[in-house]
């Protein structure tokens, strides 16, 4: 290998952190350099400048960072430009630096130009969020199409049997899974909505400031517990308790894993979602509303029931539907609390399972992504996505409807 070739190769292999680090350094250096240069260009009298020196600095720093990041994203999506990406990035950063330094003069309105760069950052952030969603949907759509080319869609949507078999001839009906999902979510919400809402009403309307200051964080701790810990709680405490004291004495079977176990524990998990959001919303109802009602001789609970809650209803409905989306998407609590057996039954003390659990179990272990048994996971995921989307749209509709009536 000749020395010339060696240098070429090392340059060719320039690691990615070099241009990124260089860009960061150039941005910081550019900030101070531009600020100094701007001050110098006005002969030290910064009143003659169209913007503050620090704003010239900010403009230069952003002019280095933003085009480089844009080049990075574009370059990566074109496969790294055949390995030349690091060099390109260095070039873009250097160009951004030189152009912005060249532009510095007392008349240059660096403040408004920096503002434009900031707008670019904000737009980019929203575009990333939206494109990601679109990307997720499309990747699921492709795989789902593959699935339906191998499996009849009528059987998927309308068959009540779920028995996957990796040697082929599986029955992959979504109905038992949807049933489990909805049943568990319903129990969870039946438990979480009243408890969460009443807790929110107590905290916002009755509790003293001192009680509130420790009770609210205490409830919110529930939101910080990982769901796997809730799952353990369901598995070793709630499940056996429900079996020994309710299911067996009442003759509902002897399974510790049950819809009721998972539903109750999931309900506990959802309490802070409902209570925290509702609490904020109830607090946002103007005091004038309460005064008006109290001034007419209504009691506190009459005021809450007839004035505060109706005024806060759109937000409360939003909170409940958010909790519902969480319940539908929950996996860990179901695996440990309700088991993994796909079954359709009305008995809440029987083990059942949900769509999310089956997505996991179809995709774990030895899988090839060609058989209907694995591809079904994407169809399940897409169905779940459509359901939660529908729920959100419905939530928006409810909120709008009540807004018209109440504001």
């Amino acid at each position: 290998m000749s020395p010339a070739q060696l240098t070429k190769d090392t340059r060719y292999m320039l690691p990615m952190y070099v241009p990124l680090l260089a860009t960061a350094l150039l941005a910081v250096a550019g900030y101070y350099f531009a600020a100094k240069r701007a001050a110098a260009s006005a002969g030290g009298d910064i009143r003659k400048l169209a913007a503050l020196p620090s704003q010239y600095g900010l403009f230069t720093a952003l002019s280095v960072i933003i085009p480089t990041l844009a080049a990075l994203i574009i370059g990566l999506s074109f496969g790294g430009l055949g390995g030349a990406l690091p060099q390109v990035l260095l070039g873009v950063a250097g160009l951004g630096f030189l152009v912005s330094i060249y532009k510095i003069s007392p008349d240059f309105r660096a403040r408004t130009h920096a503002e434009t760069w900031i707008k670019v950052i904000l737009i980019a952030a929203s575009v990333i969020a939206i494109l990601t969603t679109v990307g997720i949907v499309f990747s699921m759509l492709f795989e789902t199409r593959n699935f339906f080319s191998q499996y009849n869609w009528r059987d998927f949507f309308f068959s009540t049997e779920w028995s996957p078999n990796f040697r082929g001839n599986s029955a992959l009906g979504i109905i038992p899974l949807l049933w489990g999902t909805l049943y568990i979510s319903l129990i969870a919400l039946t438990f979480a909505v009243p408890v969460g809402l009443f807790a929110a009403i107590y905290l916002s309307e009755y509790a003293s400031r001192r009680t509130r200051s420790f009770a609210k964080p205490a409830i919110e701790i529930l939101a910080g517990i990982p769901t796997i810990v809730y799952g353990l709680f369901a598995l070793i405490t709630v499940g056996p308790f429900l079996r020994d004291y309710f299911a067996q004495p009442m003759g509902f079977g002897d399974s510790a894993s049950s819809v009721m176990t998972a539903g109750l524990v999931m309900g506990i998990m959802l309490i802070p979602f409902v209570s925290s959001l509702s609490d904020d919303i109830i607090n946002a109802v103007p005091q004038a509303m309460r005064d008006g009602s109290l001034g007419l001789g209504a009691t506190k609970s009459e005021t809450i029931r007839q004035v505060v809650i109706p005024a806060a209803l759109p937000g409360i409905v939003g909170a409940i539907l958010l909790a519902a989306s969480r319940a539908i998407g929950e996996t860990m609590i179901v695996v440990l609390g309700a088991g993994a057996a796909a079954r359709m039954s009305l008995n809440p003390f029987e083990a059942m399972t949900t769509v999310t659990v089956k997505i996991v179990s179809q995709l774990t272990g030895d899988t090839d992504f060609a058989s209907p048994e694995t591809l079904v996971a994407f169809a399940l995921g897409l169905t779940l996505f459509v359901i939660t989307l529908g729920l959100n749209v419905f939530a928006l509709y409810i909120v709008r409807k009540y807004r018209e009536q109440y504001e």
């Binding site: 005064d291 001034g295 109440y406």
Partner: protein, 258 residues
């Protein structure tokens, strides 16, 4: 201060003190308020006039740090007595607030709210009648009769305030407290509400807090001037505005303090 004892006062307050925490907001106020009269409380901001008004229906109870001592009697009954239920009291002593605060309900339900809570109507027909009467009294019936089911919050500011007055009237109160009822309204709406206040005098004892001395002069028969938590002077409105006894009253109405 001039002795203002009257024959049969609707409201009489003796040695009333109000504290917000350590702040002594009302200092030893004595006043007697007549039935079927409009009484105005005037005074600079922070002088305690609204605070005192809110003692009369015990709205101050809703503020934790507020403490009221002394004696306030309505129809010779001490309203701070332990056996008095503040909720019942507020049905008898209605209140209209500074900013119109209609509930997020229909116009009809806004007015029917009080009567429903207190069980004033035996059936829907009676309730309809109460609502219509209250809206007529508040001079809102003609504007609202075709849209009783549309939200009260969709009315204009002046209409909203008249709706709040109708809402207060519907519970059949005997005293009507108004805390700067026109301060959020334009001049035309103000004129309408003032005209209404003058009519309400036929049936109720009206107590109105106002920042506008012209308004006090236009609508009230009696005026009380508050300053720094003290009731400085209380007399016939014409006397207060033409020939006040106290130099502080004189300075205030001529615009030197306030």
């Amino acid at each position: 201060m001039k002795d203002t004892n009257m024959q049969n006062p609707k409201i009489s307050a003796k040695n009333v003190q109000v504290y917000y925490g350590d702040n002594h907001a009302i200092k030893d106020v004595n006043v007697e308020i007549a039935d079927k009269t409009v009484t105005a409380f005037i005074g600079p901001s922070g002088c305690g006039k609204s605070t005192f008004l809110r003692c009369l229906n015990r709205m101050n109870d809703t503020i934790d740090i507020c403490r009221v001592t002394g004696e306030i009697k309505i129809d010779n009954e001490d309203i701070y007595d332990a056996k008095v239920d503040p909720v019942q009291l507020r049905a008898k002593v209605g209140m209209v607030f500074q900013k119109p605060n209609p509930f997020p309900k229909s116009i009809y339900d806004n007015v029917a709210y009080g009567p429903k809570i207190h069980g004033l109507a035996r059936n829907k027909a009676e309730l309809d009648e109460i609502v219509e009467k209250a809206l007529r009294k508040a001079a809102l019936w003609n504007e609202a009769k075709d849209r009783l089911n549309s939200p009260g919050t969709g009315l204009s500011g002046g209409q909203q305030q008249r709706l709040c007055i109708a809402r207060a009237i519907a519970t059949a109160p005997e005293v009507l407290l108004m805390d700067e009822p026109c301060s959020a309204l334009d001049p035309i709406a103000t004129a309408q509400v003032e005209e209404l206040i003058d009519e309400l005098r036929q049936s109720y004892s009206v107590v109105i807090v106002t920042h506008s001395m012209q308004q006090a002069a236009r609508v009230s028969q009696k005026t009380a001037f508050f300053h720094l938590g003290n009731l400085v002077e209380y007399d016939d409105t014409t006397k207060i505005f033409t020939n006040p006894d106290d130099p502080r009253t004189e300075s205030y109405i001529s615009g030197r303090i306030g």
